[in-house]
């Protein structure tokens, strides 16, 4: 049953956005920019650098304009940002970001808690944002959260995941990132969900966004690789926990992911030592801001114009 392992894999580094958004302290803009520069220097070719949600909802990313404007751009690197709506997109476009990332959930309750709209109300907003971004010459990425389970509803209907993935692609999204928002997915489920999806969607239009809450991110990655997925989100230092699992691991750490891939002979273009240094750099900076990430992460649970759990 020799699986065909890929020669190379694309990493989407989401640490500066998904990693920092739950942190209690404010990381100074200059430190963020230095970190992003180190990530690019380490070979990451895609970095989600900030979020253009309302600063009142995500104070740690209140400096989105300054970050986008201050980027020390490296050739060949895509600098992306999260945008919740037209107002966010307008800010992002003015800031000269390369790609906009829109987001929604596969489960009704999480979608409503996270962005204060039903799924039915969300789709037209994302369609409008995507069309406008493309009209402005930008590409668009779509996040679909709670694909493998919802903290409010439990199991999530795979057919709903398929429908929403197709809806995002039809509106012009380049790639859909399937989020295991609470880190509850397991290898057999990843296989089953991807089997359904890949009957309708080519693998190069999908990315997997695993959380390591239950220690299964790498096991899930292996199955996704076997199913033909070649794009994975990861967060430098494993930043980005989930409020439903205080103290648990957050997003899969970029370093863990690339070390496994490199051991398997799969290229990522990322330098392990450089990535390690970038990770140490941001962890030291966060230690200086103090606070308990687990406590502050609870912010994610309330409010309207929110982007926390992709």
């Amino acid at each position: 049953m020799a699986s065909r392992w890929p020669e190379c894999v694309q990493i989407r580094e989401v640490g500066p956005r998904d990693g920092l958004q739950n942190e209690p302290g404010f990381v100074p803009t200059a430190v963020k920019l230095d970190w992003i520069g180190r990530l690019a220097d380490a070979g990451l070719s895609y970095i989600e650098v900030t979020s253009f949600v309302s600063p009142k909802w995500i104070p740690p990313l209140a400096d989105a304009e300054e970050v986008a404007a201050g980027l020390r751009r490296r050739e060949g690197v895509t600098y992306a940002a999260l945008v919740p709506n037209m107002r966010g997109l307008e800010r992002a476009l003015r800031s000269g970001i390369d790609e906009a990332a829109v987001f929604m959930s596969a489960s009704e309750t999480h979608n409503r808690r996270n962005i204060n709209k039903s799924i039915g109300e969300t789709l037209p907003v994302l369609r409008e944002v995507t069309a406008a971004a493309k009209a402005a010459g930008k590409t668009v990425r779509g996040y679909l959260s709670t694909v493998f389970g919802c903290p409010y509803e439990g199991a999530v209907d795979t057919q709903q995941v398929v429908r929403l993935t197709e809806a995002l692609l039809e509106m012009g999204v380049r790639e859909v990132s399937l989020g295991d928002t609470i880190g509850i997915g397991h290898p057999r489920q990843v296989e089953a969900v991807l089997e359904e999806l890949l009957g309708r969607v080519p693998p190069d239009r999908l990315a997997l966004h695993f959380h390591d809450t239950n220690g299964l991110a790498l096991a899930n990655t292996v199955v996704a690789l076997q199913m033909g997925i070649r794009t994975f989100d990861a967060s430098c230092g494993g930043l980005g926990g989930c409020p439903y699992a205080p103290g648990a691991a957050g997003n899969v750490a970029t370093g863990d992911l690339i070390r496994m891939l490199h051991a398997m002979g799969v290229r990522t273009g990322v330098d392990e030592a450089g990535l390690s240094e970038a990770s140490a750099y941001i962890l030291q900076a966060l230690a200086r801001t103090g606070g308990d990430p687990g406590a502050a992460a609870g912010d994610c649970l309330t409010g309207g114009d929110r982007d926390v759990c992709s």
Copy 2:
């Protein structure tokens, strides 16, 4: 490519032997017995309870006779012990253990460092021990260490692994446990090694013994499951580190393994809550014995009649 996942998996609990042997403090015999009782009560049907190597080499397990004699036996549970040679087997037989586990390495240097003999000198010893154990009505398990890499030699020849696995089975060993002694194996390698092995050996004669040093134990387990392996070693609490990676994770934790399997709908017969309590129990006991496991684990590197890195 729908993998066929199994309905159930056998767990070989090695914590009381492989987990404790590297600990710096001596866990009192009564505590060991209480822990082993809790492991059996949690549903583990196979427990390697101690090692009949010379007490001077493995002081933490110097009470092998007392442990074997004091077992509160639970019906349906196999109580096994490591035996290095005929002298060890004689002690084990007098103690009434159910199964003897013999051991060797797939790499010459590690074999010599661990048991002070060449591989060629080891095989006749294991053959004699296995025959004597079977003559006494016992079953025998075989450990083959450094299957996925050797701390001294680096890469290990897969053909050597196949040859030694076959040699162990031919001498009458019931099952060969393939050890990723330094936790360096990765999913693609597990697949490749098993592909070679399964051309010669049926899957029910093999077990996988993963270490989580690099965080890949569960990912490796997933691939082994896909290849048809149904028996896995694990250590309650993840006890049993490797001296070559101080502070790193040790044997794959039984709790991590069963949680993944249960999430995937694979039965193990082990109760998660009961296992958690057994894990908390021994971790508290170890905290009382003090010391730095990482430092003491260095014992593994020297000496003759040794059994440390299965």
